[in-house]
């Protein structure tokens, strides 16, 4: 199974007269995990939303799998991608099952196809089956995130986008989910774009790491590249600001 690639060429986005992003050119490699990282306001969430046409660029172009992402094509792109935000972005009026199957029902899948897909997904995400008929507000934060992941995976998309997916979780749940998510990414081999401001998390997930500041790419490469060969003092400072435990070597 393989994913599809995104490509941005000369993209700019202006908010209220101030440039929020770009001009920026970036290739997101297929079937690998790309992590966008940077301080608050660096434009990483804006970039993510440009990828599936939730917002339109003011200049430049966004391509998905060789096709331009435009208002006309955006819906087709979204059907081939899954999008997960902090706390899952679940609809409170629907049960977990209702959330996961919303799109499939809209597309007219028959019930047996829906049921077997749900079965695959709860095994993949280790979601407890008895939680399927609960509303989001009656699920734990970690469970909500699993439902969000299942919903994103329901149509078996070519790419998955995550915006601070684990940001609202307490540290232990977060650590567990990081392990499980990376396993899922490796198993599925899809194109993954993940936004975080946590360098440890970024390093853990990233095949390819993109560091943004003020709407511009400061440096990109493997996590090791950024640690060993920081491109400028900002990268050095950013890397050093992420403290780990001070244990004796």
């Amino acid at each position: 199974m393989s994913g599809a690639a995104f490509a941005l060429d000369g993209v700019t986005k202006v908010y209220a007269g101030r440039p929020a992003l770009g001009p920026l050119t970036l290739d997101v490699p297929p079937s690998r995990t790309t992590v966008l990282i940077g301080p608050s306001g660096c434009g990483k969430s804006t970039l993510l939303r440009l990828l599936i046409g939730l917002i339109e660029p003011d200049a430049g172009s966004v391509m998905f799998d060789g096709t331009p992402v435009t208002p006309v094509t955006a819906r087709a792109v979204r059907l081939r991608t899954g999008y997960v935000i902090q706390d899952g972005g679940l609809f409170p009026h629907l049960t977990a099952r209702g959330n996961v199957t919303l799109m499939a029902r809209h597309l007219g899948w028959d019930q047996s196809r829906i049921d077997s897909r749900i079965q695959e997904l709860i095994e993949l995400t280790r979601f407890p089956a008895d939680g399927l008929d609960r509303r989001p507000q009656h699920l734990s934060g970690g469970q909500r995130q699993r439902v969000g992941l299942m919903r994103a995976l329901m149509l078996n998309p070519d790419a998955l986008l995550f915006d601070e997916p684990l940001g609202a979780l307490d540290p232990l749940v977060r650590a567990d989910l990081q392990v499980e998510l990376r396993e899922v990414f490796r198993t599925l081999g899809k194109t993954v774009v993940l936004v975080t401001h946590d360098l440890g998390e970024a390093a853990y997930f990233a095949d390819h790491l993109v560091l943004l500041r003020d709407g511009q790419i400061v440096q990109q490469g493997s996590p090791a590249d950024l640690w060993r060969r920081p491109a400028d003092p900002f990268v050095t400072r950013f890397v050093q600001a992420q403290r780990g435990p001070e244990v004796p070597a």
């Binding site: 999008y83 935000i85 009026h93 809209h106």
Partner: protein
Amino acid sequence: MTRYWILFLGLLAGCSGPVNKPVVIGDKKFTESIILAEMGVQLARSSGVKARREDLGGTPAVWLALTQGDIDAYVEYTGTITREIFPTEPPDLAAALAAHGVRMSKPLGFRNNYALGMRKDVAAAKSITKISDLARPDLADLRCGFIPEFVDRADGWPGLKKRYALPQGNVQTMVHTLAYRAVAERAIDVTEVYTTDGEIAQYDLLVLEDDGHFFPAYEAVWLYRADLEERHPAVVEQLRRLEGHIAEVEMRRMNSRAQGDQKEDERKIASEFLSYALGVTPPTAAESTDDTLAGRVLQTTYEHLQLVVPSLFAATLVAVPLGVVAARRPTLGKVVLATTGVLQTIPSLALLLFMIPVMMALIGKGIGAPPAIAALFLYSLLPIVRNTHTGLTGIPASLRESAVALGLPPWAALWRVELPLAAPTILAGIRTAAVINVGTATLGGFMWAGGSGRPILRGIDKFDLPLMLEGAIPAALLALAIETLFGLVERVVTRRG
């Protein structure tokens, strides 16, 4: 949502009434007019047809109802026909009426002339015995209270003032019944009276002589539709049996029986008169639904729902989409919210009355239920539009974006995500509209739309508290019932997914 719509459709279906059309005798909603209409109904029934009374309002409304076929006959006064119905006095009255498909009977025997009345002690203290006395400069500050129609009509106060050069400037408008009480309580000094009014004897008033002969003769006559003569010749024949049979003193006596302390039922007064004057005994058991309190309340409640349910249903169908548009297009939304907001600030009575000419122009029927429903419809818009707008714009941006990001097309995102999320707020808006609607619909009594407003207004006219409560209490209970019903629906909708 579905359950809720079914409920509405059910109520709507329940509101289509019977089609069988009885003979309808109209009245102007004052005692004498009602007694005479009641006589007409009973005479018509005695000829074997179904008949009922329709309480309408002032002359224009009754004339309109007659010419457009809502009623078949009513008692009018010759002075009103020649001065008010026709802009100029027609040379051939019968021909002028025939041009409108209307015929006139011979006079019924009594005159109900306009006159002015005062307390006898007040008049004596100021040495007033006739209208020309009122022209004295020292009487310029007399307080006058007249019905609005009298103040507006050329053959009313303006003409009278001119003819006698009257100096009085303190003129208030009030309901006829209230004016009598106001005179009795010395709150005003002069009011207009009709010479057959029962109150003249009841309050022992002095009728000022029209020594300048300003007021014309107001002889009571039947006006009836020409086609009634073809459809029910026997009914016309029965109605005309009253010709020349009601003396002025007789009429005044009947009026005072209905209005004095005993407040006798107009129906009973009419049937007693018919029995001893004409030997008519109408079939008593006929159409008895009107006669018990429970039957009357059921009937008015049913009529009330016929106003409330269609207007609310139509308002929901229009206001929810308007609310959606307002939420989607903020600029247009401001216009929509401002417009519906302005509608809400129009006093409800004014809006109801404004609907009369509008509906006349639109559907050729200016009185009755349609204009009331139209006004209630406009009134129901704002709460629903506003709550739909609030409900939709209150959805967190992240949820709206999640729906789009899933790949749902805009209408599906609206239908599957946004409207369900906003449903409790929208329902609360519909509930508010329903409760306002039940209350405002009582004002439909002013435009002869039926419902609980009819007994309330009739009760005010007659100063009859039990009759007012007969309309007010069911209306209040209906509002509570609707409030409770919507509370249950809201709970179901919130619990379901």
